[in-house]
């Protein structure tokens, strides 16, 4: 099953809309609550990244019985140094964005720690594509 969403850069009032919709779908599909929580956290962070840093973007969500794969593709400045951006607390968010309570530098690390598979492709001056995969069956600890 495929779900598509558009995200506008700078529209903080609507940030979190796509992750909220995906959450509703996963709840209806009777997916494990812990898994839903990880999906929501990862997707919310990625969605807010587009809102805070990019001009616009699209979110494509593919769900099958095994996993949920979320692809977030934005038109934006790109990420010059991915390893640096992956460090906890590192942020390039503007003061205005921080004032709104975003931009604490936890976005990418948070996505990484909630995803089973996380891929970033970036092109400076063009945009960034994230691919986040989370298995729907809760992992055996």
């Amino acid at each position: 099953m495929k779900l598509d969403y558009n995200v506008e850069g700078g529209d903080f009032a609507r940030a979190g809309w796509a992750s909220s919709q995906v959450k509703k779908v996963l709840k209806q599909l009777n997916v494990d609550q812990g898994v839903i929580k990880r999906v929501v956290v990862a997707l919310y962070e990625a969605e807010v990244n587009i809102v805070a840093h990019a001009y616009r973007g699209t979110i494509t969500v593919n769900i099958d019985a095994e996993k949920i794969r979320m692809t977030l593709e934005d038109e934006g400045p790109g990420i010059p140094d991915i390893p640096l951006a992956m460090q906890r607390g590192y942020s390039t968010a503007s003061p205005q964005v921080r004032e709104m309570g975003f931009g604490a530098g936890m976005g990418l690390p948070n996505i990484d720690s909630n995803a089973d598979n996380f891929d970033i492709k970036t092109n400076i001056g063009v945009g960034t594509t994230l691919e986040i995969t989370i298995n729907l069956k809760p992992q055996q600890e």
């Binding site: 209806q28 009777n30 929501v40």
Partner: protein, 458 residues
Amino acid sequence: MSTPQFFHALKILEDVCIGCSHCVRVCPTEALRIRDGKSHLYPDRCVDCGECYRVCPVSAIINYHDDFDKIFKYKHRIALIPSIVLGQFKDGIEPEHVFAVLKGLGFTDVCEGEEGARLLTELVNERVADRTVEHPVISSFCPAVVRLIQVNFPGLTPNIMPIKAPLDFSAMYIRQKYRDMGIDDSDVGIFYITPCAAKIVAIVSPVAVDNSGINGFINLDFIYNKVMKVIKSTGGVKNIPPDRKSNLNGAQTLWALTGGEAASIKGRSLSIDGMKNVIDFLEKLENDEIENVDFLELRMCDQSCAGGILAPANRFLVVERMQKRARNVDVSSLNFDIDSYHEMLKGNAFTEEIRPRTSLRYDVDVSKAIAKMEKVRRLMCFLPGIDCSVCGAPTCQAHAEDVVQGRSVITNCIFLQKKLENQRLLDSKHALRMIEKIWGKDRFDKDCTKRGKKNEDS
């Protein structure tokens, strides 16, 4: 698969129901459908909020309660009275008058529901301070909210404080007090006067405890009428010798109103009332958008229990009156006998953790559920998105889900029927029969006695 049985105090009277669909449209969990001209309930989805009861134009939904004479089966008959009951009566009719009238009606003793709130505050504060449990801690006071979370927000059930309600503490206290006087449990009947359906369900069918020790329940509107009748027929309160005064302090008096619980919680707490507000906030909480809140007081009714479905007086006037009473409490006159039962109550204060209630939308199996959901999404391409309820379901989405679950057929949609008739794929007589199947036979014949029509009352 076996279907669990769900008890609900609200019942639809089939012979009174006119099949108007008002209830279908307000239900927060989409638990109602129109079939054969009557409203029907999916019991596994109902959370006892009572929104259907509120909007029914013909009072076809009733709140089941015990026959008043049941109290006389007991030698000792105790009315367990939440403060909201006393708030219903206008100034001048004070708690001591209401207690006196209740005793005249047959009760032998009265106990207030919020007396038990003293201990509760202490225990909730301990839980809020415990950083090993899920935060925010959500109050378990409103049973409709607890059930809403169980059905619609299963991931938030660990946040619910697994503790009994003030009324349970009061009931345990009064029962023990009679035991200590050497009176057998079987001689003591405790009857709760309820402002809503959810409280009854919480007593009869608690989410996590076995027995609350309450023997029965009587609707607030019923008691209100009985008390008012006595007051009127005796020529007013001046002729009623007052009983003892209310035993509640200010905080206890206000407990059941919005902000009443949160006021005594240490930490950052929010009070939210009204069904839509509660649902919106729980959505945000579930999305992890809410940070650093310690305690949530959530009440399904606007103005909390003052807006209870069985409360006859205007909720805003009740709030004003109770606030005034709370300000004027003479603390020196209060009896804190309940405090001597502190240890016993504390030992029985907690319930098991609250668990989600299964209300499967599609299927236990995720791949089957995905297949069904995709089918629903395809069906939605054909439905008009008008949410008119003519198919008997509250929304096009709910209709599509019913179709996929085999509970309805897609052509129950009147707009699809028009389209099929236009394409000569559906006979118009057959189409009328289909609509009559939902709304009742001969429903669309001229009838000047039906509600709102020319001769409604003749």
